[in-house]
């Protein structure tokens, strides 16, 4: 029996409706009663979710928009707190950020690697020891000392993924960012993910791209109405999920 690295035990997560206050103080005061009422009315996203993920497993989450997949990743990363229930996570969690998040357009590729590497949890020393290999992997050697505002979006994506690929994560969270760059780089990043798998890195994927989920994951969990509808082998779960969508 392998170690459990992620355990969710009857986790409930709800959000209050923030729309009335993020509309500003003016709106809040004008619609005071309504705002308070709305604030109390919470929208439940996850209803008593329980599952476990073992060391080295690659688990995919599928489901409709707004079913709580990203919330789930936020809970694993520890940036969100559950209303109730227990969450246990063992190891360093590295989320794969949206492309270029945390990058600054005026800085060069090299400077952005350092910035991003440190923001994602490496010390400067660790970044410096890997920087050559990161640049090599990204394949944008000629432009690395140019500000990234002149990069194409594909190039930024490659740089971002290259930093992540050198993080040595223990648990990797991937939210819809697999298809980046040109075909060659897609292949490269796909291979990197396979390599992560072979190294025994635990991965949690969220995607609407059912094909890549099927190819990469050992297990797929289907979320519906805040609950786990099905949990099992990728082909079976994806097939059932597709059937349910066609039925509608």
């Amino acid at each position: 029996m392998k170690d459990k690295v992620v355990i969710f035990d009857k986790v409930i997560k709800s959000y209050p409706s923030y729309t009335h206050i993020t509309g500003g103080i003016k709106n809040f005061l004008i619609h005071f009663n309504k705002s308070i009422r709305n604030f109390k009315k919470r929208h439940v996203v996850l209803k008593e979710i329980s599952f476990e993920i073992s060391q080295g497993e690659c688990v995919g989450f599928i489901g409709r928009n707004g079913v709580g997949k990203s919330t789930l990743l936020g809970l694993i990363a520890g940036v969100l707190k559950p209303d109730s229930g227990k969450i246990f996570v063992k190891g360093k969690v590295s989320p794969l950020l949206e492309l270029g998040a945390g990058f600054h357009p005026e800085l060069t590729g090299r400077e952005n690697i350092i910035l991003n590497g440190v923001l994602l949890g490496m010390t400067k020393e660790e970044v410096f020891s890997k920087i050559d290999s990161i640049i090599e992997f990204s394949g944008i050697k000629n432009f690395i000392d140019q500000p990234i505002r002149i990069y194409s979006s594909g190039m930024v994506a490659r740089l971002a993924f290259s930093v992540i690929a050198h993080l040595d994560p223990e648990i990797l969270l991937i939210d819809e960012v697999l298809a980046v760059g040109d075909i060659e780089f897609q292949k490269k990043s796909y291979n990197k993910i396979v390599e992560f798998k072979q190294k025994g890195i635990t991965m949690v994927l969220v995607s609407h791209d059912l094909e890549s989920i099927k190819r990469l994951c050992d297990r797929v969990i289907w979320l519906e109405n805040g609950k786990i509808e099905m949990d099992g082998r990728p082909e079976e779960v994806v097939e059932e999920y597709q059937k349910s969508i066609i039925k509608e």
């Binding site: 959000y15 923030y18 206050i21 993020t22 509309g23 500003g24 103080i25 003016k26 809040f28 990743l73 936020g74 990363a77 520890g78 940036v79 969100l80 707190k81 969690v93 989320p95 950020l97 949206e98 998040a101 945390g102 600054h104 005026e106 800085l107 400077e111 350092i114 910035l115 440190v118 923001l119 994602l120 949890g121 010390t123 400067k124 500000p147 969270l173 939210d175």
Partner: protein
């Protein structure tokens, strides 16, 4: 592990501050002079309005203005930019478990570095009025720096976090800074204020800090009791702000 954490936080701060400074100075070697331009222009305007036109009875008025405007600039830049700083790091806060209070910290530190860089300008100005830097500066500069940092950082934490929930706070902050500027003795001296309003002015923590800087730069004076009062005052405000920030920080990823 403890050791690594400390090293990591240090790296995090240096990388974030270096980023801001690099971005600011990347495209202009004149960057330093640009950051002087605003307070100097303000000094010029106030000099014209209050010395030339209204003839305030303050000696060495241009030097007087600069000793107040430079530290004020630091305070007002940091507080003025604080509403947007968490919003501009949305994707980071939403996905990475990360000591978020470092974002306002580096923002304030960045403006603080700029302020420190203006001290030579203050010194040169002083020399024109035959004010020679005194040894008291060695003690006074770090101490007042610390107090102002504490107060500014506290407000930046408070405003940046509340702004996530009430997105129009930014407008109020601008009005707040405008009012605060006039109830702080930046371009006038506290002795010109009628006795009955003076107490209220002393209650404004920024007043104390500006007066402290000015006494230090103009007279080489450092009043220990006066300093301690504003240090404790700033510390209490900071603690309150940090507490609010901490309480709200669990909700950041939800509202962003």
């Amino acid at each position: 592990m403890k050791d690594r954490n400390f090293k990591y936080y240090l790296d995090l701060i240096t990388v974030l501050v270096a980023k801001e400074l690099k971005v600011r100075y990347k495209n202009s070697y004149l960057g330093y002079f640009w950051s002087l331009l605003n307070p100097l222009a303000m000094a010029l305007i106030f000099y014209f309005a209050f010395k030339v036109i209204m003839r305030v009875p303050i000696e060495n008025y241009s030097f007087f203005l600069i000793t107040g405007l430079f530290p004020w600039q630091w305070f007002s830049n940091s507080v003025g930019s604080s509403p947007g700083i968490l919003l501009s790091n949305t994707s980071l806060i939403k996905k990475v478990k990360f000591p978020v209070y470092f974002i306002p910290f580096t923002n304030v530190l960045n403006d603080a570095v700029h302020f420190l860089l203006t001290i030579p300008v203050i010194t040169v100005f002083g020399l024109f009025f035959s004010k020679i830097p005194s040894l008291v500066w060695l003690l006074g500069i770090p101490l007042w720096f610390f107090t102002q940092f504490l107060l500014t950082y506290g407000l930046a934490l408070l405003i940046s976090s509340i702004n996530l929930f009430f997105r129009d706070l930014e407008r109020l902050v601008m009005v707040f800074l405008l009012i605060l500027f006039y109830v702080t003795p930046v371009f006038y001296d506290i002795t010109l204020v009628p006795e009955k309003y003076r107490k209220i002015l002393f209650l404004n923590p920024v007043s104390g800090i500006i007066m402290g800087w000015r006494d230090l730069f103009m007279k080489g004076a450092f009043d220990f009791k006066f300093y301690c009062f504003y240090l404790i005052y700033s510390f209490i405000l900071f603690t309150f702000c940090f507490y609010v920030f901490k309480r709200l920080s669990y909700k950041f990823a939800e509202v962003l």
